[in-house]
């Protein structure tokens, strides 16, 4: 029996999180199939077929799969689910939306957001905002799992040559209708896969001041993130929030500016390789996890840093 990985994509390109998920799935068993469900997404199927370690790509190409709506996509995954030992998806907002629906329809449990694979049925996952790490055994015959991307390396995007098989689309049950979406357009790298992340907190004081961080991020070729306080204050868009309930990041360099380091924020970034904190409050908890701390006024330090790099 094989393992099914649900690919994340935007109908044109495969999202990076899929590659980390393939690595996690490969530690659960050997025969890996990838489901590409979308609309006019032939190009994605071709990219999927090239991933090293994937033996088969299932392509479901139909209008009802364009936006990865959990209702229609869930029915599709459930219809083939019992042919697999594991159903695995990235723990992105799409994966989190879809997989519990699939699990309940199959009457099995889900293991969310794993960061380690101990064996085919036993996984490690953070609980309590990363305050503890649980080792959990899934007892059902089908294991439904979502994968935290930062817990696993990306599988090589080339080297494979899987066959692409067409999967018949199922009729849409009409429970939910896609109305529209607004996606932020940015030339910066994606927050969860960026090599460098520059994050700001309440200390930035205003949306305008976030431009300081954007300049620094651009100089470093990095992404911009934020604490919940900065998002709640309306300084930046919601999807830049790093933390327990926002994005989980683990870049090579994380620069935290003007943010105190609440436990919920640390949960989203403490696996970063190198952490820099710039804050004028030397008691801020962020300094307890920072490799390099600079006690300074960010409005002086950040422009200086940006200029001298």
């Amino acid at each position: 029996m094989a393992i099914l990985v649900i690919a994340e994509h935007d109908n044109q390109a495969l999202k990076g999180a899929t590659l980390n998920t393939v690595t996690a799935a490969s530690q659960m068993g050997s025969d890996l199939h990838l489901l590409v469900a979308g609309n006019a997404c032939q190009a994605v199927a071709e990219q999927a077929a090239a991933i090293a370690g994937v033996s088969k790509v299932l392509l479901a190409d139909a209008p009802q799969y364009e936006h990865e709506m959990a209702e229609s996509l869930g029915d599709l995954v459930v219809s083939i689910g019992s042919q697999y030992t594991h159903l695995v998806a990235p723990a992105t907002t799409n994966g989190k939306n879809l997989m519990p629906r699939v699990a309940a329809q199959l009457d099995v449990a889900q293991v969310s957001d794993i960061i380690g694979v101990e064996s085919a049925d036993t996984f490690r996952r953070p609980i309590y905002a990363g305050g503890a790490i649980a080792t959990v055994q899934a007892l059902d015959t089908i294991k439904v799992v979502t994968v935290r991307g930062t817990g696993f390396d990306a599988a090589p995007a080339s080297g494979g040559s899987a066959a692409v098989e067409t999967l018949e689309a199922l009729p849409d049950a009409g429970l939910a209708t896609f109305i529209g979406q607004e996606l932020a357009k940015s030339d910066r790298p994606e927050l969860t896969s960026a090599r460098i992340v520059v994050s700001g907190g309440r200390g930035l004081g205003s949306a305008e001041n976030f431009a300081l961080l954007e300049k620094l991020a651009d100089k470093l070729g990095g992404a911009v993130g934020a604490s919940r306080a900065a998002v709640d204050a309306g300084f930046v868009a919601n999807d830049l929030q790093v933390g327990q309930t926002g994005k989980i990041v683990a870049p090579e360099l994380y620069i935290a500016v003007g943010l105190s380091g609440a436990i919920q924020h640390l949960a989203g970034m403490k696996d970063s390789k190198v952490i820099v904190a710039i804050n004028k409050d030397e008691e801020a908890p962020i300094f307890q996890v920072a490799d390099y701390g600079l006690v300074a006024d960010l409005f002086e330090a950040v422009p200086e840093l940006e200029q001298k790099l």
Binding site: M69, A70, E71, T93, N97, L98, P100, R101, V102, A103, A104, D107, V108, A109, Q110, S112, D113, P126, Y128, A129, G130, G131, A132, A134, T135, V136, Q137, A138, L139, L175, A176, T177, F178, I179, G180, Q181, E182, T192, I196, R228, D232, N238, D239, Q244, T245, K247, L253, K273, V274, V276, E282, V289, A290, D291, Y292, G293, L294, E304, L305, K308
Partner: protein
């Protein structure tokens, strides 16, 4: 339209959790407990729907030991009309909770079911989606705006990279994200009034649900701790360290 809100009793979000010395679980003895923050947002949204004349009744349900009645009372103090506790010995896993809630939905026939997107203890983010699957309804997770129009609900969802708007047929399940609303504080007279609001207690057997073990918790460990590094004195020193010591730029 009736609105059902499912809530959970969890560790207070300000409390730093400790792992038991025998690594069987976290230690919740004598720890401050509270209404899960996302559930609080769900209650607030339901109460606002009632205040706007959209909802006629707000029913709050929680699954767990008797202590979770405290959190049901909190929700009643925030403006919910009545409560249901489903009595279990421990806090069951998400699939079991979803099965119990599905029975309550069948009994109560709500038009809208609101839940938090995740509880801050297990961080599973599963129950709402599972419930939607079991009752065969549409779902909108990570809601940041909810608007009920006749026979349907439009929800703005916080997704990776931006916002998505979906429309669901009623009944529908919605799970709340942080920015859906800012919950009110319960006033003392409301807390007193909440004590007199009806609260039913049911058991899984009453609902005809047999709880099975699907997941086994083998071990709970403290995460590896990061050591605090050094303080640098200047931007120049920081750049020097990043270039020559950490070698990340």
């Amino acid at each position: 339209m009736k609105v059902l809100v499912a809530v959970k009793r969890v560790i207070d979000y300000n409390v730093k959790v400790r792992v038991k010395p025998d690594n069987t679980d976290v230690d919740l003895a004598n720890v401050k407990m509270a209404l899960n923050p996302f559930c609080e947002i769900a209650v607030e949204e339901a109460v606002r729907l009632k205040e706007a004349g959209v909802a006629t009744e707000v029913v709050v349900v929680s699954v767990g030991p008797k202590a979770c009645q405290e959190q049901i009372r909190t929700a009643l103090a925030l403006g919910a009309d009545r409560g249901i506790q489903i009595e279990t010995e421990t806090s069951p896993e998400p699939l079991s909770v979803a099965k119990l809630l599905a029975k309550i939905v069948a009994d109560e026939q709500p038009g809208l079911i609101l839940l938090g997107k995740q509880s801050i203890d297990g961080d599973n983010n599963q129950t709402g989606q599972m419930l939607a699957a079991l009752i065969g309804s549409g779902q909108a997770t990570f809601a940041s705006k909810v608007e009920v129009t006749d026979g349907a609900v439009q929800v703005i969802r916080e997704i990776d990279g931006g916002l998505q708007t979906v429309q669901l047929k009623l009944p529908a399940v919605i799970t709340t994200d942080l920015r859906l609303n800012e919950p009110r504080y319960a006033k003392l007279p409301d807390i007193m009034k909440a004590k007199k609001k009806p609260l039913d207690v049911k058991t899984p057997a009453d609902l005809g649900v047999e709880l099975r073990e699907h997941l086994r918790l083998l071990k709970v460990e403290a995460p590896s701790q990061r050591q605090a590094g050094i303080k640098v004195e200047s931007v120049d020193e920081l750049i020097e360290k990043l270039k020559n010591e950490a070698k990340v730029i």
